[in-house]
Symmetry: D3
Subunit: 194 residues, 6 copies
């Protein structure tokens, strides 16, 4: 029903057009994924911004302690769903399916992050993310206490909050650019391996 | 991440436990689909309500004139997305994929019905549906005129409005019962036939 | 201040123009009321939809067990007030006055269903209805527990929820059609009998 | 369904307990109405505030030029409906019925001020009132221009705005005190004279 | 960045153009402040309204018992911030700084009244004010109980509520007139005396 | 009224505790400002995140072409006001005063970014920022066209959007940490030089 040509309202660059350091960095991602995620082609118009974006992303999404990788993706999907960001839900929904090996969880979280049934720790993670994504001005110590009661350490609370904040930015960049998800994301993690 | 046992907060009935007329009717659907959609197992506790629900559904979703089948499903997915109804988005998203043979459209509409790029007629359909789903008290003649300018006849406007209204009901029944989508829906229409 | 001619944006049919089964059915209502409620004249353009509407209505509003008749009308008035549906508040406000023999209750509920002082059971009924009418996506088990603490059985909770859902539909149909209340409703139940 | 004893959360005073000037002033209103409107009994606890309230009310509601008396009451009912203030809708709805000799207009405006069909001038009045009542921070010159196009002079625009502002206050005082409408208001203006 | 000439959308009057009693009254304020606050120049077009406004203001803001002067200004700043009223925040923020001798409190309250850290009694005052300013229709006894637990007497609760209501009016008058703050207010109370 | 000791809910680090590259970088800012802005002390707990934050900030706020420095700060103040972020409004309001040499503009924008009178180009900047800050999911080509009509190039639109997105993140980090503004910010740019 919709034409799939345009990637971004502001045009895009191809991998080979990026500065060399970004070619290496985005190239490594492309190799793992099998394609260049469109966010890098759209943000690549402004290399300094893409570089900072990647740095921030890696600092939060690839930390080895605290939240698990799957939990970090859960924050992204819940936040992006609350913000109605199609690109981020589709792309990170795919990663969440891969990380959890659960082919349904991303759709359940994306359609209704407020009410999806989750174990207590994950519920606490999602509740905090939704609060900060949609009503951060009224966040109080009570919200942090609820997260602690859900089993989060203060460092994990920072992770949830900072990832939510990062995607408050990413979601808006995707809306600004009308960013299209790569077709490959839609099916990723939905089929049993083998 | 979530246990998939419970179908509804209020329990459910199996096909064989339904009154005979409903067994025949729901049985036919199950045969086409390959499984009994959970909504019928959950509403089956109250046969008179399920019967009226099916009648209303068929009167609107299986009309032969006016909106196409795909357009009717588009209304359902947009409305259900606006209402954050997981069951209806997952189930009718599957049907929308099947009807349109487009494996991506349901996810694009569901994640952001407000901004998904659509041809003018479909945009007019979705705009009217969203208006009535989320702010019906302020609907005015201007909204209907916009739909007419998008190419809809008055009978088609009624269809869009009535389907939106029907799913205002269905979505709330799904939320009331915490209705779970059947696992089969998630993958339906995502893979090329053959 | 407003012209009272037009009943619906989409025109209407008179009783004699309905299919025979609906003539009998709506005729019986008209006999009891003394007039044909406009909703039937407006929906009568589409007999199959009117038939399903009446079936659904009767299945929920004329059940003999569970909620009392007055309580069912209370749900309708509170829901329709939350949705700002003039037709439904005026028509069912009239029925609520008749059922409760209280000439004020409908106006009190309609003007502010959130804060009207009610006995605990009725408060629980209205709270659940408002929740489902206006924010169903965030309904949780806690809302159902609150209803249970207000004295509702699970079957009564279903009734409240399903009636609220039915009027989520009716209210939107009334908004779609700009449905006018019959003049007779406004005064009904306001004067002492005798 | 609700006990009708308490008038205000903060108690009330009777006419005879008011300072003499207020006895005269409220007494004259009571003579015209046939009863002491509860707002004066509730605010009478603080005579200086009641005096200022009456002064402000009279300065705006009893001006002889500009808006008609009926139009002033229309502003009050629309504003109070938007604020869900039961006391003010019931009391001023009664006055609106009396002023317009239209037994239905108050209920139509109160249930849905946004969509009630009104002549262009009255629509412009209500639109401006609703804008200022519910979203005054985003009022712009465009809103005033729309009012001018609806036929309002600048002095009439001030009237609409100032009456809306006065009832932004009154509605909140009624909510603060949980003010009950006098039973007499409910039927006033609903029956033909004779 | 913005031209500072126009005081109000509806023009204004100078002190000498006011009726004599208002010249005396506003003159006294001007003498204390060193300038005529613009609100009096804008409202002065309608002397009866300005008189009632001053009476109401004095009845609530200059009471000698109950809330302290600083607490009354705290209510005004929190309410006006919730309503995004620039004039009232700038003018009463200045007075709050003067009353509290705290050069920062007004900005902290104005930017985020919901989350600014305050002692328990002040928190209770602000919470009640925000509730009534932004969602008065759903105010319940629980809100008043919370205020009592914060240390407020019922008379102080009335003060908070009535001041909030008064500024629900004032804020809307300022929005109606696009009222400009006098330049003198911005710096008042920000510098140490001496 | 509030104790000014705690800078962040999660503690903070001093300049000398930062990694050397950050000491140099933040030290240069501190030298220019006369103090270490608290945001760097709070984010300094996580050097990799602070580094990416500074990179992103500089890439957007210190570009030499497109929006002027003052315009970039205008975006920050408007966005942060819409998000009720006290730290960002106070800190960047100070910078906006310095950049514009206008002691009032920051307070006018912060109190009501929606209605503050601004020249057409600045109005277009603020409108786009507010749209993306508070309702990015419904951003359409029409919003971008409005920005173009206000005189913005596509590159300037990207700037406005990306700065808004960056502060969607910053504002949430400030809310997460309950970040306190340094006292020095409050008075900066309010007094004439000399």
């Amino acid at each position: 029903m919709s034409d799939q040509e345009r990637i971004s309202r502001f045009g895009h660059v191809e991998l080979r057009e990026l500065p060399e350091d970004l070619q290496v960095r985005v190239g490594a991602i492309a190799e793992r994924s099998g394609f260049v995620p469109n966010v890098f082609r759209a943000l690549g118009r402004r290399p300094a911004e893409l570089r900072a974006f990647l740095d921030y992303h890696d600092a939060l999404m690839e930390r080895s302690d605290g939240l698990s990788r799957a939990e970090r993706e859960l924050v992204v999907v819940a936040t992006s769903a609350a913000n109605h960001c199609t690109y981020c839900v589709v792309a990170h929904g795919a990663i969440l399916r891969v990380r959890t090996k659960d082919p349904h969880i991303a759709d359940l979280v994306a359609n209704n992050p407020h009410a999806v049934e989750l174990p207590a720790r994950e519920r606490a993670i999602v509740d905090l993310a939704l609060r900060l994504a949609t009503a951060s001005a009224t966040l109080t110590d009570r919200d942090l206490d609820a997260a602690r009661q859900g089993g989060l350490t203060d460092d994990e609370i920072w992770d949830v909050g900072a990832i939510t904040a990062l995607f408050a930015m990413s979601n808006r960049l995707a809306h600004l650019t009308a960013l299209r998800p790569n077709p490959e994301f839609f099916l990723m993690g939905r089929l049993p391996k083998g």
